[in-house]
């Protein structure tokens, strides 16, 4: 009886895990199909003249371009530059944004004071601030990273701070009654409790950092994917623009999967 019971349990459990795996595969399959569909449609539309071939290029051209750039090595250079900038911008943006959120969580007065200023800063078109960044940070790496930060920090701060505020006050009460000081309350309650929100901000930030870096490279750049895009516009080579966009999409997805992986590791370690 006990044996058959545990056998049944195990079979149930296996079934459950199988169903989970199946679902995951189904998701991947649908994603793949969508991707293939997208490229097929694009190619067909370009070939059949539904869309302007000059402006939209076509997947075959785009992939030929990417392949050529990979072979001649120029891709790696531009990619390396941009990925480096994005990584720095992403890490710094997330870190500083979270730190700012911590600061205003720490001091509700500061939070009340800064609130409208943050919104105002957030509503400044960063592209228009370009000259200011150039003046303050020169025409290079720093200016690009600062542009990225200007795009990611406030959003990070607002989202993370909001999740800090959403933590059940009773959990804080428990920790305080067990002798936690404000630092401990933060690290033992607020932070782990808002962990999901922070991770989802990370996911948003991956995207935002790319936008920031590309915009930054539009402002000042000698190399990088943003430079390639601007250059593509200047020499009216939209295949170059599209292939840069595709590469951005690809690398951003990779970075995103990395974040997802880190999330998994962190969660399982908890």
């Amino acid at each position: 009886m006990a044996a058959s019971r545990s056998e049944w349990l195990r079979s149930r459990h296996d079934e459950f895990k199988r169903a989970k795996r199946l679902r995951k595969r189904a998701v991947l399959a649908v994603q793949g199909i969508l991707l293939v569909l997208f490229f097929t449609l694009w190619e067909a539309a370009a070939r059949l003249g539904w869309i302007d071939r000059l402006l939209f290029s076509s997947p075959s051209k785009v992939f030929r371009q990417i392949y050529a750039n990979m072979v001649d090595g120029s891709l790696w250079h531009h990619l390396g530059v941009t990925v480096g900038e994005t990584a720095v911008g992403f890490v710094l943006g997330t870190l500083l944004g979270t730190l700012l959120a911590v600061a205003i969580w720490w001091s509700p007065f500061l939070s009340a004071v800064l609130d409208p200023y943050m919104v105002v800063f957030n509503s400044m078109p960063k592209v228009a601030l370009g000259p200011i960044f150039i003046v303050m940070f020169g025409a290079g790496f720093t200016a690009i990273v600062v542009t990225t930060l200007s795009i990611t920090i406030i959003v990070t701060t607002l989202v993370v701070y909001n999740s800090f505020c959403g933590v059940d006050p009773n959990l804080v009460k428990v920790a305080r009654s067990l002798g936690a000081n404000r630092t401990q309350v933060f690290f033992k309650v607020i932070l782990p409790s808002s962990f999901p929100a922070i991770v989802s901000t990370l996911k948003v930030n991956v995207g935002m950092s790319w936008v920031g870096v590309i915009v930054g490279e539009f402002l000042v750049a000698k190399s990088g994917l943003g430079y390639l895009i601007i250059y593509g516009f200047q020499v009216f080579n939209f295949t170059l623009v599209m292939s840069s966009l595709i590469i951005i999409a690809f690398v951003a997805t990779t970075m995103y999967q990395l974040v997802v992986y880190i999330e998994k590791v962190l969660v399982s370690r908890q």
Partner: protein, 266 residues
Amino acid sequence: MPPVVELRSVTHAYLGDREASLAVEDLNLEIEQGEFVSLVGPSGCGKTTLLSIIAGLLQPSRGEVLVNGRAVSGPSPEVGYMLQQDYLFPWRSILDNATLGLELTGRLDEAGRRKTADLLADMGLKGTERSYPSQLSGGMRQRVALVRTLATDPGLLLLDEPFSALDYQIKLQLEDLVSETLRQREKTAVLVTHDLSEAIAVSTRVILLERNPGRIRRVFDIPPQIADTPPLYARDQPGFAELFHTLWKEMELAGTSADRAGKTEG
């Protein structure tokens, strides 16, 4: 007429990423119209799990569940389920929390609102209608949750420890109120409690579960002289003390005979 609740060899295992654990095993049960059944048993023996299954919030891993002769596929407004914790909506006032069920089933009118307010007053919550949950004490919140369940007037009531946060007086008063109301309207009820005297005083039948996994250990039919007496007086009826004692002994055995067979790691 079919039984109001019918469980046919119901088994439930909780499935997690790391393990599966058996909470209820091979349980058979029939509850007739008008019955008031109490579920007792050691903490963690599967009482809440069982109520969730009857309420349609949980699909059992195996077995059939029928309410009023129909297989249960999800929650239905005929069944009122009061959860073990209050879970009031913090953004709603007390009255709005209590009338939630009426609102969801589209039956909220002035009369319904007034009736619910009366019910709140019956439970000693007069004057709190416009307060918010965070302004209430634990016992007050529990009573609001009870009113929320009663307000929709469901045919079958599933109550998970509805009186646990209450002081003795209010508890007795409410036991009386609830059991009288149900009796009059011929409702059926399943009550989870850890207070054995409460179980005997309010029910027509007490089901004792044992744990790991949850199974019926014994069923006690409450003699009519106790079952038909209002709870407040039932405790003084002859035979009450004996029954209490038997139940007590059995419960002690149920608690200690626990093994942890119902788990599989993998």
